[in-house]
């Protein structure tokens, strides 16, 4: 994030770190305050607003992204910690011409209502399906147990993930 300050005597004291990382396949360099949260680097710095913040306290999972393929709550990781790593956000799920089966599944099975939890849910689910292509309902529920949804009651979210798993297998 670039911030322009009025030129006051203590303006030099704001420390900045340079980091390099890959996001949704694209290589980036950024200069960040050491205390900047990854969620804010993604949302404000990279303008990828599909990653949402719901709680700031690692509870809701709306901010879930993948770092090197692992689901991470980006509200609780510092931007400097992704130096040299690879991030996937919801914007990286679909290709130009094709939706990811998870995206299709959520629409097919009515796995979302307000949509606020959805990107985080899909990424947590992707991490599951990447290493377990044939999960049981119980596996899905456990894999999503770090993500809150206030609208759907989860039943359809679980179905959405199972729908995607089946499509990915075939």
């Amino acid at each position: 994030m670039t911030i322009v300050y009025d030129d006051e005597p203590d303006a030099d004291e704001i420390p900045v770190r340079r980091i390099r990382f890959t996001i949704n396949g694209a290589k980036k360099v950024a200069e960040v305050e050491p205390r900047l949260l990854l969620a804010h680097l993604i949302r404000q710095g990279l303008k990828l607003t599909g990653t949402h913040t719901g709680c700031d306290t690692t509870n809701c999972g709306a901010c879930t992204v993948l770092v090197d393929g692992k689901p991470v709550k980006s509200c609780t990781m510092l931007a400097v910690q992704v130096d040299g790593h690879e991030i996937t956000t919801v914007e990286g799920l679909a290709t130009a011409s094709e939706l990811h089966p998870l995206q299709e599944g959520f629409k097919e099975e009515h796995g979302l209502q307000c949509g606020f939890c959805t990107p985080g849910m899909m990424l947590a689910a992707k991490a599951l399906l990447d290493h377990n292509p044939d999960p049981t309902e119980e596996d899905v529920r456990w894999a999503l147990s770090g993500n809150l949804c206030r609208c759907t009651g989860y039943q359809n979210i679980v179905k959405s993930v199972l729908w995607a798993a089946e499509k990915l297998r075939s």
């Binding site: 994030m1 911030i3 322009v4 300050y5 006051e8 203590d10 305050e33 205390r35 900047l36 949302r43 303008k47 607003t49 599909g50 990653t51 949402h52 913040t53 719901g54 709680c55 700031d56 306290t57 509870n59 809701c60 709306a62 956000t89 919801v90 914007e91 799920l93 679909a94 939706l99 995206q103 299709e104 959520f106 629409k107 097919e108 009515h110 979302l112 209502q113 307000c114 949509g115 606020f116 939890c117 959805t118 990107p119 899909m122 529920r141 456990w142 999503l144 147990s145 993500n147 809150l148 949804c149 206030r150 609208c151 759907t152 009651g153 989860y154 039943q155 359809n156 979210i157 679980v158």
Partner: protein, 796 residues
């Protein structure tokens, strides 16, 4: 031969059409308030009170001003110079925007900082030094009403105690007579705990005042943009046409995003002062401790009974805890919302209720959390009292309900508190539920299990609730009548756009509204776009809460579409060169009665409206409707839950949950079921884990998601939904009734009744929600009722 279109194929009424809004949400392309960035935008953070009740001795913000990047620090004193330190609430009270004299609850807004970025604004908030002088704290109505209690609202003239209202409804005399004649009286006392709607997205706003045009645009998380525009016009004294409220995508509302919050007001004033856009995004703690809570009502209920099980009368006394400001969002005529809709599905001759509202040192709110104005409490009290009475009578709980139900041939029916219900098949719904859960079989299993020391329980909750306020004679908010509106434009090529005064937050309006138009006009739903939430473009409406969108805005859409169809008929007659009386309608097409093959499609009529209208006809094909419903809609629900309680730990598991909902015509069954499952989950949450309580010093316990427990996919049980019974709403244009909240309203009692049934051997009458394991354990171990009321500080 009919050439009518297949309604399901075109996405009309009854089609489980996939949602159009999903296309952006699954790609992460929604547009929530926090996603919006305006040029030159600044960021606001709020400093909140750490104490629940304290006099403000001084505020020193000098250090905050010194931090580079800070543009403005606002305090109550400064707001007062502009007459903005206080604002009106939705219940004719006042609420502090930024505290001036004292703070009255933990988390109250004391100051705010506007800076280049939110991190700087937060730093600056921490640099503000506030000196407080602590005052005695009140956390329950009992404390508030105790003689000598500190007066919380000493800012109000003539307020010498903590009572907000004393409200009565029903027939006191008839009720007394019935009680005198009763064979027995069943009594139950309980507390519906404070809860928070807690959408995952918190509240926020971006105020953008443009000095050059004098126009104020506010992007904000609101379920009712038009009411907000009116409120801003009144509070900020700005001309209404110069205010534009835009409610973009909303990450869940559930009633939490109806009121006006200090943060919105501060961001508006800051933008006016700084002439730059100012964004305020609340954090979760701010949302949980300061914005619209729900419930927090104590009941003392009595039921007069005849020995054979007939209910003769009901007496209810409620004490409600409204926090420091009376800001319930509810129709102005009713002080405790629609609490008196209790017992609407039962045929009971007399009822009387006394309700008292009190101030406490807790956050204000009293919002309709997935609820029509206290209907959730009403139905919970009702169904808990019904179960307690069945136990007292030694009757089967299902049979007791059935014998007291309003019969199918007894509509319209006057409820004991004076509402008029109009339709339903209560007994049939109960039958479906009992069959689905295998009732008789379960009772047998339960006995067997008990003999082996296992505790199984079954809980039933049956209820009809009033959804979709108005009519406007009886329902208004701050004097604005509770109608709603829709506007439809049919373009030349037969495509259309719908705008309404509602504002969805996940209910799928963009999908279902098109389906209503499709049903009325035969246009494929995919040819219709829906737009809501911008007061500059949408017709005036009261917004989306209390399950009123389908009953009111949905009806307005149907009525506007019918006006359009009437004009299209004239165009068709012109095109077909026959008189209007000779034109018949079938879905998507007008035809000549005597020659059904000769017809024109609705799209051809649309084209003609712009290119070939008859002489003297006004061009164009668009219309609008303001719909004032003749009555509320009365969906019915039967929820049945079975549980197993662990006798050692008090932990309980749901083994089965059956939901039978009769909500009239279902526009989009898939979406209706989604609403029901969402509601059931919140019902489970309230019964099992979710509540906000306070310690004796007024510290909010439940100020983040580690303390305010919401169930995840792991805890949430599966649900079995039933839709076999369908009773059309007799007055709604397409026969639909509200549904968004039924499950959250009727559900909690089913869970609680099931656990109470499982531990009925103890003789305990009540364990307050949430039925945490330690509470259930305490009930089993000590065989006593367990209260969830906050503790009171004593001298020891």
């Amino acid at each position: 031969m009919s050439q009518a279109l297949d309604e399901i194929k075109i996405g009309g009424l009854g089609a489980s059409r996939k949602r159009v809004e999903d296309n952006r949400f699954i790609r992460g392309k929604g547009n929530y308030v926090d996603d919006i960035v305006l040029p030159g935008m600044l960021h606001m953070e709020i400093l909140r009170s750490p104490l629940a009740h304290a006099r403000i001795v001084s505020i020193d913000a000098s250090k905050a001003w010194e931090i580079p990047g800070v543009h403005l620090v606002m305090t109550g004193e400064m707001m007062a110079t502009r007459n903005l330190a206080w604002m009106p609430t939705l219940s004719y009270d006042t609420q502090a925007v930024l505290a001036t004299d004292k703070v009255r609850f933990q988390g109250q807004e004391v100051a705010c900082v506007i800076a280049d970025d939110p991190y700087i604004a937060k730093d600056a908030c921490e640099a503000i030094d506030v000196t407080y002088e602590a005052l005695p704290v009140i956390v329950s109505p009992a404390q508030a009403l105790a003689p000598g209690a500190t007066v919380i609202r000493d800012d109000k003239e003539n307020q010498n105690d903590n009572v907000i209202f004393h409200w009565e409804v029903g027939d006191a005399e008839g009720t007394s007579r019935a009680f005198a004649e009763a064979d027995m009286v069943s009594r139950l006392q309980l507390h519906y705990p404070r809860s928070h709607p807690s959408p995952i997205e918190c509240c926020g706003s971006i105020a953008d005042f443009n000095r050059a045009t004098e126009k104020l645009t506010v992007y904000m998380t609101t379920q009712a943009p038009h009411i907000i525009r009116a409120a801003v016009a009144l509070v900020a004294e700005l001309p209404e046409q110069m205010i534009r409220i835009i409610s973009p995508d909303i990450g869940g509302g559930f009633g939490n995003k109806v009121p006006v919050y200090p943060g919105y007001v501060c961001s508006i004033l800051a933008s006016i002062l700084l002439e730059r856009p100012v964004k305020w995004i609340e954090d979760k703690t701010g949302n949980l401790i300061s914005t619209g809570f729900a419930r927090d009502v104590y009941l003392d209920g009595e039921m007069a009974l005849r020995r054979d099980g007939k209910i003769l009368a009901i007496r209810m006394h409620t004490d409600s805890d409204h926090g420091a400001f009376f800001s319930d969002a509810q129709p102005s005529k009713f002080k405790i919302g629609l609490m008196h809709s209790a017992f609407a599905c039962y045929d009971i001759p007399y009822a009387h209720m006394i309700s008292r509202g009190t101030y406490t040192n807790k956050a204000p709110g009293g919002v309709a959390y997935r609820c029509s104005f206290r209907v959730t409490e009403a139905m919970f009290f009702q169904e808990r009292m019904v179960q307690a009475a069945a136990v007292d009578l030694g009757m089967d709980q299902a049979e007791f309900r059935r014998m007291n139900f309003v019969r199918d041939d007894d509509f319209p029916h006057r409820t004991p508190f004076g509402f008029l219900t109009d339709s339903g098949q209560y007994g049939a719904c109960l039958d479906v539920g009992l069959k689905a859960v295998g009732y008789d079989n379960f009772l047998q299993q339960q006995e067997e299990a008990r003999s082996r020391g296992r505790l199984l329980g079954i809980g039933i909750s049956t209820m009809t609730e009033p959804l979709g306020a108005g009519n406007s004679r009886e329902y208004d908010i701050l004097g604005i009548k509770m109608f709603d509106s829709a506007e439809i434009r049919v373009h030349m090529t037969g495509k259309a756009m719908v705008r309404t005064g509602a504002r969805g937050q996940g209910q799928g309006h963009e999908t279902t509204w098109a389906q209503i138009v499709s049903h009325e006009l035969g246009l494929p739903a995919d040819d219709i776009t829906v737009e809501e939430g911008d007061t500059d473009t949408a017709p005036f409406g009261m917004g989306t809460y209390a399950s009123r969108s389908t009953p009111v805005a949905g009806a307005a859409i149907a009525m506007a579409a019918r006006k359009i169809r009437a004009k299209a008929r004239r165009l068709a007659a012109h095109l077909l060169e026959v008189s209007e009386e000779d034109v018949e309608w079938e879905l998507g097409r007008f035809y000549v009665r005597s020659a059904p093959d000769r017809g024109v499609t609705i799209q051809e009529c649309a084209m003609a409206a712009y290119s070939n209208m008859p002489d003297g006809m006004e061009p164009g094909l668009q219309n609008q409707s303001f719909y004032d419903p003749p009555n509320l809609t009365w969906p019915f629900a039967c929820y049945i839950v079975t549980v197993e309680v662990d006798p050692e730990t008090g932990v309980w598991d749901v083994t089965n949950m059956v939901a039978v909902d009769d909500c009239g015509v279902r526009i989009n069954p898939m979406i209706v079921e989604g609403q029901i499952m969402g509601g059931l989950t919140e019902a489970y949450a309230m019964a099992n884990m979710q509540f906000i309580t306070f310690d004796a010093e007024g510290n909010c316990v439940g100020s983040n998601y580690m303390d305010y427990l919401l169930p995840t996919a792991w805890e949430t049980p599966g649900f079995e939904l039933h839709s076999e019974i369908m009773t059309e709403c007799p007055h709604h244009p397409i026969g639909a009734k509200g549904i968004g909240e039924c499950a959250a309203v009727g559900g909690p009692a089913a869970f609680v009744n099931a656990v109470m049934d499982a531990i009925s051997y103890t003789g305990v009458r009540n364990v307050d929600m949430p039925m945490l394991p330690d509470r259930v354990w305490e009930a089993m171990k000590y065989r006593r009722d367990v209260s969830g009321a906050p503790p009171v500080l004593t001298d020891e």
